[in-house]
């Protein structure tokens, strides 16, 4: 599609900008734009729920948490002293990129109905979820019904992490 290429250029530009920023506060803002762009890409690909999570967690919560962390750090810690790029990274990372592109060439095309991902179990979900779970959104049906135990344990994990963060970040006067 005509819009995907500009968004990809956008993603690369924002990612590079976040790495090359001079202080961490600017890097946090540029990372926010990166998440916005990534959420747009997810929305364009039709993964609306992933786009929602990316917008909520990536652009919203992560920015707030980064700023919360920076507000407790001292002034000199938010400046970046950049050292020279090691030659192992200059050689190794392009090799990894070429390997990944080589592997990606074998993947089935986007939206291919004959690909393994869309022939194994997803037809069962897509055809039966409304009748079985009475939920119009198939992603919600999978998360909250077919795999509800997974979701429950995930919620427990995130809740525990939240309690731990609150205990560490709080004043400790309990």
């Amino acid at each position: 599609m005509i819009l995907e290429l500009p968004l990809l250029v956008f993603l690369v530009m924002t990612a590079a900008g976040a790495i090359l920023a001079k202080d961490l506060i600017s890097a946090v803002f540029i990372l926010g734009t990166y998440s916005f762009t990534l959420a747009l890409v997810w929305a364009l690909l039709g993964a609306v729920d992933v786009a929602f999570v990316e917008a909520v967690v990536g652009a919203g919560l992560a920015t707030v948490f980064f700023l919360l962390t920076l507000s407790t750090a001292s002034e000199k810690d938010t400046q970046i002293r950049r050292s020279a790029i090691p030659w192992t990274a200059l050689i190794g990372l392009p090799i990894v990129a070429i390997l990944l592109l080589y592997g990606a060439a074998d993947l089935p095309a986007f939206g291919d109905p004959g690909s393994p991902a869309s022939t194994h179990i997803s037809p069962i979900y897509l055809e039966g979820s409304v009748a079985q779970t009475k939920t119009p959104n198939v992603v919600t049906a999978i998360l909250m019904d077919y795999r509800s135990l997974d979701t429950l344990i995930e919620t427990v994990v995130i809740f525990t992490a939240g309690i731990a963060c609150a205990l560490i970040y709080g004043k400790g006067s309990a």
């Binding site: 819009l3 900008g17 506060i25 916005f36 747009l40 609306v48 786009a51 929602f52």
Partner: protein, 90 residues
């Protein structure tokens, strides 16, 4: 009609590039904050237009509302942070 919405999508994306320049180059932190806010307003409109193209506006309106709410929260967090800390010297 679909080509009209596609034109709107491309134009909005081109507008985002202008803001992106401010966010990445922007001399002071306030330039970056304003640029981020501009990008997020464009992203909200863009999401609704994408929903119109896919003919599933009801779902995309939900996301753009969530976007807008979180944008407010993060803008408040930025404002509070800059109030406590003061803008960094460039």
């Amino acid at each position: 009609m679909s080509s009209f919405f596609l034109f709107v999508l491309v134009t909005l994306t081109a507008l985002m590039v202008v803001y992106l320049y401010r966010v990445i180059r922007g001399p002071s932190v306030f330039d970056r904050v304003l640029g981020l806010n501009g990008i997020s307003t464009k992203a909200i409109v863009l999401l609704v237009v994408i929903g119109t193209v896919f003919e599933r506006v009801d779902m995309f309106v939900d996301i753009s509302t969530g976007y807008a709410l979180l944008n407010l929260v993060s803008a408040l967090a930025v404002a509070k942070f800059l109030e406590e800390r003061g803008a960094p010297q460039e």
